[in-house]
Amino acid sequence: MLDKTSIAKRIAQEIKNGFYVNLGIGIPTLVANYIREDIEVEFQSENGVLGMGPFPFEGEEDADIINAGKQTITALPGASFFDSALSFSMIRGKHVDLTILGAMEVAENGDIANWKIPGKMVKGMGGAMDLVASAENIIVAMMHTNKAGESKLLKKCSLPLTGVGCVKKIVTNLAFLEIVEGGFKLVERAPGVSVETIRKATEGNLIITGEVPEMKI
């Protein structure tokens, strides 16, 4: 079973040299820490920065330099700042190569829900709807089940959708899955997790073809 850090590490393996990547809040943010050192990657944050660097040293925070999570950050050499429309031109125009974000539910057809629980939580979608509607390469990072133990990989999302048919890959604490015709294809098991455990935790159709290897973190 993976902890959040390991989920981030596994996702980091999906990042290729030369990728521009947009990271959502939560587990996705951790991914930045585990990029292979021999590849070049640039992080875009939709509030208007490309070439995002690490947090500033204490005392060097600048209120004018933040990421989409409103955290103080730094800009690496070669970074640029821009307006919100141009930022979403990067996203909508498919210039961002990979989007990594969290989800409350994912359906077997790639639908995703992560912005609203009617009557309970209404924070807004922020940039998520633009990201999922445009990105051709979306990885969802999330726990396989919710706090009540219910599957978050469903036949059909029960919560209001963020986007339709857009998720391509999912990394959970239990498995690495791909959305294919017909459902969730189990690609890798988390270390020590059996196929049976994954099957029980997955409400949507789980597709298993042959031996399912264990992830290497």
Partner: protein, 232 residues
């Protein structure tokens, strides 16, 4: 073309109850602090505010929310404000949540004279309910209509009397797109410099999009999430 006014009070002349306002900023980064304070001072109510966020409980648009000056909020993310959530769930506040990229582009559409845009964001979700959708090249898009606003309040780093603006860092955000997107655009700047000091290659917003400009005072520039690392 001298657009310089003395202070926020003069800059807000003509702002009245029930108007629609655009306010720049992302979170608390680059918000028009002086204009917001003056809206509180003048006790202008019944406002419809277009802004990416709604501030926090005791800063930014949260100050207007606390005084119940906002009737309707058009935003993309409002998660940092408890009073906001309370007013929304109790029905005191109307809320229209729209995708962030759509928000930015509908400002730009207003700025640029486009009546509407086709965007993929929100297709197949409740955001698209009741809206026209259309297929182009096998992909579905939602038709969204340009904003209409009475005033836009933006905040820049430097500006001159002609209304030219330069932003710093990620404070450019919606401030850029809202300039010229309302009937009257009011810019407040940290530093008002002499005409000719801003290099024409480096100006972000040409003055034509700005009707009034003033040098703000007492900028707090509050940080919402202070994240740092230690020097090794």
């Amino acid at each position: 073309m001298n657009k310089k006014v003395k202070n926020a009070s003069v800059a807000l002349e003509g702002v009245t109850h029930n108007m629609t306002l655009m306010l720049g900023g992302f979170g608390l980064c680059g918000i028009p602090e002086n204009a917001i304070s003056e809206l509180v001072n003048k006790e202008i109510g019944g406002l419809t505010c277009i802004s990416n966020n709604a501030g926090v409980d005791d800063f930014g648009l949260g100050l207007l929310l606390k005084k119940h000056q906002i009737k309707k909020m058009i935003a993309s993310y409002v998660g940092e404000n408890n009073e906001f959530e309370r007013q929304m769930l109790s029905g005191e506040l109307e809320v229209d949540l729209i995708p962030q990229g759509t928000l930015a582009e509908l400002c730009r559409a207003a700025q640029s004279g486009f009546p509407a845009i086709f965007t993929p964001a929100g297709y197949g979700t409740e955001i698209a309910e009741g809206k026209e959708v259309r297929e182009f090249d096998g992909k579905m898009y939602v038709l969204e209509h340009a904003f209409k606003a009475d005033f836009a309040f933006v905040k820049a780093w430097k500006g001159d009397s002609a209304g030219n603006l330069i932003f710093k860092g990620t404070a450019k955000n919606f401030n850029f797109n809202m300039c010229g997107a309302a009937n009257i655009t009011v810019a407040e700047v940290e530093e008002l410099v002499p005409l000719g000091e801003l290099h024409p290659n480096e100006i972000h917003v040409p003055g034509i999009f700005v009707q009034r400009i003033f040098q703000g005072t007492d900028y707090e520039k509050r940080i919402e999430q202070r994240t740092t690392r230690k020097k090794e």
